[in-house]
Symmetry: C2
Subunit: 297 residues, 2 copies
């Protein structure tokens, strides 16, 4: 997915919010805004939006010397999600279709994102997770089940810290032995890295790799050889969140995107309202057939 | 008031919204966004925000050849406000303090602004005007009454089309013979020009001049000699709206600002919540003493 003109004010707002979260030094705030303005003035709009996010957060790390400004927030979100796992797992186990129930929880957990909104309260996150089973999901769960049943090797692309702990429920349903979980190669926003996978105990359950990149998405040209090997070997890729959708939606392979639609640009791109929980497919060209799964699974 | 970093994403959003309102030509949308990005990258933040608005709307006129893209919207808003005048005037006449009641209506009418939000429904505007007398206003009406009682020459700086029709109620209370009403020199957003003053019949009631400028505010260096003469002669200036506040709040003369606080940057600047209806003074340095006038006057 390419950059829309509407993304540009949002890049600036995100850069400013992030700079203010990291430092009180107003010279840094002004410098990052001016740098993003210069970058955007000649921006190649055919790039995916996370390419700009990558540059912004990399520059913020350089300008402030803070390698992982969201470390404390990520730890807090991991603890929150891990503490809810027993309750969420019990619902999955009781569900008539545990795979669907776990996928619904994993999609709901995609709300845990400090990029689109820089503040998320623990109560909001907790509430979103508790309600996940009752939330309608737009997309074709039957197709997801079919693809999962046929897959030998599944590559699971995580999105955010906190969220990754809830992904565990879906990985348990997929069968961890055939799953490789991939996280970002370096800290960017609150995206999950190896540390966050460990915080959720996922390293004991499943093979965990990082993608070698510090983009808030999966820019294949920027990923490590090890990651690309897994990416090419997998016969099913499950990709979480907007950043992965924005960077991979036009890649011609079997990918299922699980995400919450959080911004108006993506909403328009996929023709779904902001706030929609969605399972979107990518097989050759179009999105998967669209079926709304209503109510508890 | 100078430009805040937070204004910059908003300039871009406004430029894009305005471009889309004027033309469907996506090349123009992209061009104006890239031009605003280049301008903003080296922007002198000590300028008032309407300086950027002036450049954006001037370039949009040049790029599209449309001199007054909001003409139809302005006519519609004028008709709406004029149609409500008998009802609003009746309330002013019945009020124990007609000057305050008229000022409250004039402040409420400042909601009619297509800059901050590019869409405003007629129902919203009508509702805001009907509720104006019951809306709390932050500021010192007693000080306004004192200054009005003492003034010999009042310069009234209008803000938007539609709103200007409601300003008529306040001008009637001020005594039209000592009032000069000033509008923008050229069309910019939905700001009132001579045409809008005429649409509300104000040319028959009061002396109407234009300020010679196409800025969405009052940038004195950009105004005509005739306007500056009035500005300097007046012993009281009543200035409507955010654009006039942003450009005149630091000018050392007797100005009373009547406005609705519509953006978070101004809200922070004046330390009032977004949505506040306010009477703000400028006498030497500070804002007038702050008193909330509650309920019907």
């Amino acid at each position: 997915m390419n950059i829309y003109l509407d993304c540009i004010p949002c890049f600036l707002r995100q850069a400013l919010d992030a700079a203010r979260n990291i430092t009180e030094d107003s010279r840094v705030h002004e410098q990052i805004v001016r740098e993003v303005l210069r970058l955007a003035a000649d921006l190649d709009l055919s790039r995916p939006p996370p390419w700009v996010g990558q540059i912004i957060y990399r520059r913020l790390r350089e300008l402030t010397g803070v390698e992982d400004p969201y470390r404390a927030a990520k730890s807090r979100l991991n603890r929150l999600a891990v503490s809810m796992l027993p309750e969420l797992r019990a619902v999955v186990k009781r569900a008539p279709h545990p795979l669907i129930a776990a996928a619904k929880a994993a999609i709901a957990a995609n709300v845990i994102d400090l990029g689109v909104r820089s503040v998320l309260s623990e109560d909001e996150a907790r509430e979103a997770l508790r309600e996940s089973y009752a939330t309608d999901v737009y997309g074709d769960f039957a197709e997801l089940q079919r693809q999962v049943a046929e897959a030998r090797e599944i590559l699971y692309l995580a999105d955010n810290a906190g969220e990754i702990a809830v992904d565990r429920l879906l990985i348990e349903q997929l069968g961890p032995e055939r799953v490789t979980l991939a996280v970002r190669g370096e800290a960017v926003i609150n995206d999950a890295t190896i540390d966050d996978a460990r915080a959720a105990g996922l390293h004991e359950l499943v093979r965990v790799i990082d993608n070698g990149s510090d983009a808030p998405g999966t820019i294949l040209e920027d990923c490590s050889a090890e990651f690309l090997e897994r990416f090419n070997q997998a016969d099913l890729i499950i990709a979480k969140g907007q950043g992965n959708f924005e960077t991979l939606s036009e890649v011609d392979t079997d990918i299922v995107f699980l995400l919450k639609v959080k911004c108006p640009v993506i909403a328009e791109h996929v023709r779904l309202p902001v706030g929609t929980h969605a399972v979107l497919g990518r097989k050759g060209g179009g999105l998967a057939s669209r079926v709304t799964v209503e109510g508890p699974p």
